[in-house]
């Protein structure tokens, strides 16, 4: 069980308010991802749930119980840190077994659970090494092992993959997703990588300056961003967003169109521009277009290859049903 509810939670460091009043519910078994630009308060929010940071006001419930004043050790949550935070003086075996030892389990049972966790994380060969003798990816596994052994009511992850190289990151991402499918335990995952957010989450919480801009499933956020900020933040490459006469012609203050929802022609179309760079990925082509009169640069994505090069004149046509329209306040209009 692990249903987490934040009621009217705020946080200030001295005079500066980092989190204005905020409400949020994370359902039992959900994979929730906090995503947002650097400094928006993701870690602070996670640490408040963990109990590592005091609340300035408001309260937090876990499974209906108010834990606002409960110390972290008594909240039944497990956390994986960006820095891994392994105990350098203990072997991998001791590290993973540590929370169980603190719980007062007997040694035989600890050994059994540690080995089971190590087995599932491919750590059997490293059990007697110290963390210093492990690679980054192995350390990350140990940190995860230490979190899973004691069946917490929820897992908290603070950018756990950001210290790994790209290939390893994708691998670990899949492993964590699969772990969630298997265990069905609540997970809260902090990242500033929107690809991680899109691929892993059941529910994404987009934050900006401590304010929740939108909460929803990845596809909800993709198809119906509530405002300009979410529209620009979710999706890769970024949505093209423009205001002014071109937007007014489409009947809105601000208009957004995703790169993949723009058709390309060399002869005719709604907007005319000049190719700046064309990135050929084989499966897709990203074309960055200048001088469209919309924004400094418009990006389009077309599947397959197309032979365009720097300086070519190109015509772009948005798919009409994929346009996102926003009012002067930046809020979505249907």
């Amino acid at each position: 069980m692990g249903r987490i509810v934040l009621n009217n939670v705020t946080k200030s460091f001295g005079e500066t308010q980092v989190i204005p009043p905020l409400d949020l519910t994370i359902e039992d078994g959900e994979f929730a991802v906090f995503v947002g630009p650097s400094g928006c308060g993701k870690s602070t929010l996670l640490r408040m749930i963990a109990g590592l940071e005091d609340l300035t006001s408001g309260d937090i419930e876990i499974d209906g119980e108010n834990v606002t004043e409960t110390p972290p050790s008594k909240r039944g949550l497990a956390m994986v840190f960006q820095s891994y935070a392994l105990y350098p003086h203990m072997s991998v075996r001791k590290n993973i077994g540590f929370p169980l030892r603190m719980e007062g389990l007997d040694q035989a049972e600890i050994d059994k659970k540690v080995e089971a966790a190590a087995q599932s994380l491919n750590l059997m060969d490293y059990l007697d090494r110290k963390p210093a003798a492990l690679s980054g990816g192995q350390r990350q596994r140990v940190a995860i092992g230490r979190a899973i052994v004691r069946n917490p009511s929820a897992f908290l992850f603070d950018e756990p993959l950001s210290n790994l190289d790209a290939a390893l990151r994708v691998g670990m991402r899949l492993e964590i997703s699969e772990m969630h499918e298997r265990m069905k335990t609540t997970m809260i995952y902090v990242t500033h990588d929107q690809v991680e957010a899109m691929t892993m989450a059941d529910k994404i919480v987009v934050l900006q300056a401590g304010v929740i801009e939108q909460v929803g499933s990845p596809l909800e956020l993709y198809h119906k961003p509530r405002n300009v900020f979410v529209a620009g933040f979710i999706g890769s490459p970024k949505m093209n967003i423009f205001s002014g006469p071109a937007a007014e012609a489409l009947g809105a203050h601000t208009v957004g169109i995703r790169p993949e929802h723009t058709d390309v022609s060399m002869t005719e179309g709604t907007w005319k521009g000049t190719v700046g760079v064309a990135e050929h990925l084989g499966s897709d082509t990203f074309i960055h277009v200048h001088d469209t009169g919309l924004a400094d640069m418009v990006t389009v994505r077309i599947s397959g290859d197309i032979s365009v090069k720097h300086g070519d004149t190109i015509y772009l046509t948005p798919q009409a049903d994929q346009l996102h329209k926003f009012d002067a306040q930046g809020m979505r209009v249907e």
């Binding site: 590592l52 110390p71 972290p72 820095s83 392994l86 603190m102």
Partner: protein, 277 residues
């Protein structure tokens, strides 16, 4: 190239020679004291017998006969050990709190503790003596342990604070998430991780306690008198018995010099706050 060769030559020969010279310079008084302790009082003041003399054990035999060296030594051991233990017992949690849960006042508290070391001890001598006598603790080990602990606590806390600061906060927080309480954090994580620093601090505090003379001499007469008092007592009013004084001093500092010799590495680390690895 020439410069590299030269500097490496200095590295191989010059530096060790320099180090030995400085070392001998500092060691000379101790050497001189030990040497003098084997001279008769008469020989001790004669320059012609500076290095060449007939060694004698008289001073040591005399000391063994006339003073109860072991009683003083026992007091020194007891007070220094207890004061060190007590200092660490208070200092570790205090430094832990300031390193990992700092408040707005932490910096000021640290400065204030340091400032107590700037107070001239003589300024509080009489208040201390009256206080000690008033509460009936004058010349007791309890008093000496208390005083030694209190005068060394600021240094201990400063040193420990510096070591603890080097431990990443995440590791302590991971401990909290893994279900340890405050005492567990200290016992399971902090102490094992900062063990080198804690040992250096304890060793240094022990040496300070052992060598302390200002208060131990003035707050004791017989019952709680330490080796410092024994040396002080040999500044005999009848004249200067250098031989005898040297024997007593040698016997008093001997244990600590031996201890220091065996713990050199820890001490160097302690005094440089871990800068030398």
């Amino acid at each position: 190239m020439a410069i590299v060769a030269q500097s490496s030559k200095f590295g191989t020969y010059g530096r060790p020679i320099l180090a030995w010279a400085v070392g001998l310079l500092f060691f000379f008084p101790i050497f001189y004291m030990v040497m003098t302790s084997f001279k008769t009082d008469a020989d001790a003041v004669k320059p012609e017998f500076l290095f060449f003399f007939t060694p004698t054990l008289d001073n040591y035999l005399n000391m063994a006969e006339n003073y109860d060296y072991w009683r003083f030594a026992k007091n020194s051991v007891i007070t220094a050990v207890l004061a060190t233990v007590f200092t660490m017992f208070v200092g570790i949690p205090a430094a832990y709190a300031m390193a990992f849960n700092p408040s707005r006042a932490t910096k000021d508290v640290l400065m204030w503790m340091l400032s107590t070391k700037m107070l001239p001890a003589a300024a509080v001598l009489y208040p201390m003596i009256y206080l000690a006598k008033g509460i009936g603790l004058y010349d007791t080990k309890v008093l000496i342990v208390t005083v030694l602990s209190l005068i060394n606590l600021p240094i201990a806390i400063w040193m420990l604070f510096t070591y603890f600061k080097e431990i990443p906060k995440d590791i302590i927080e991971a401990g909290k998430m893994d279900g340890v309480n405050t005492w567990g954090e200290i016992k399971e994580i902090l102490v094992p991780l900062a063990w080198g620093g804690i040992a250096s601090t304890a060793l240094l505090i022990f040496i300070f306690c052992w060598n302390e003379a200002y208060w131990t001499v003035r707050l004791t007469t017989i019952d709680a008198a330490t080796l410092s008092k024994l040396i002080e007592g040999n500044r005999a009013p009848e004249g200067l018995f250098f031989g005898r004084l040297s024997a007593v001093s040698t016997a008093a500092v001997g244990p600590i010099v031996v201890l220091g010799w065996f713990c050199q590495k820890q001490l160097v680390q302690g005094l440089t706050f871990g800068a030398v690895k």
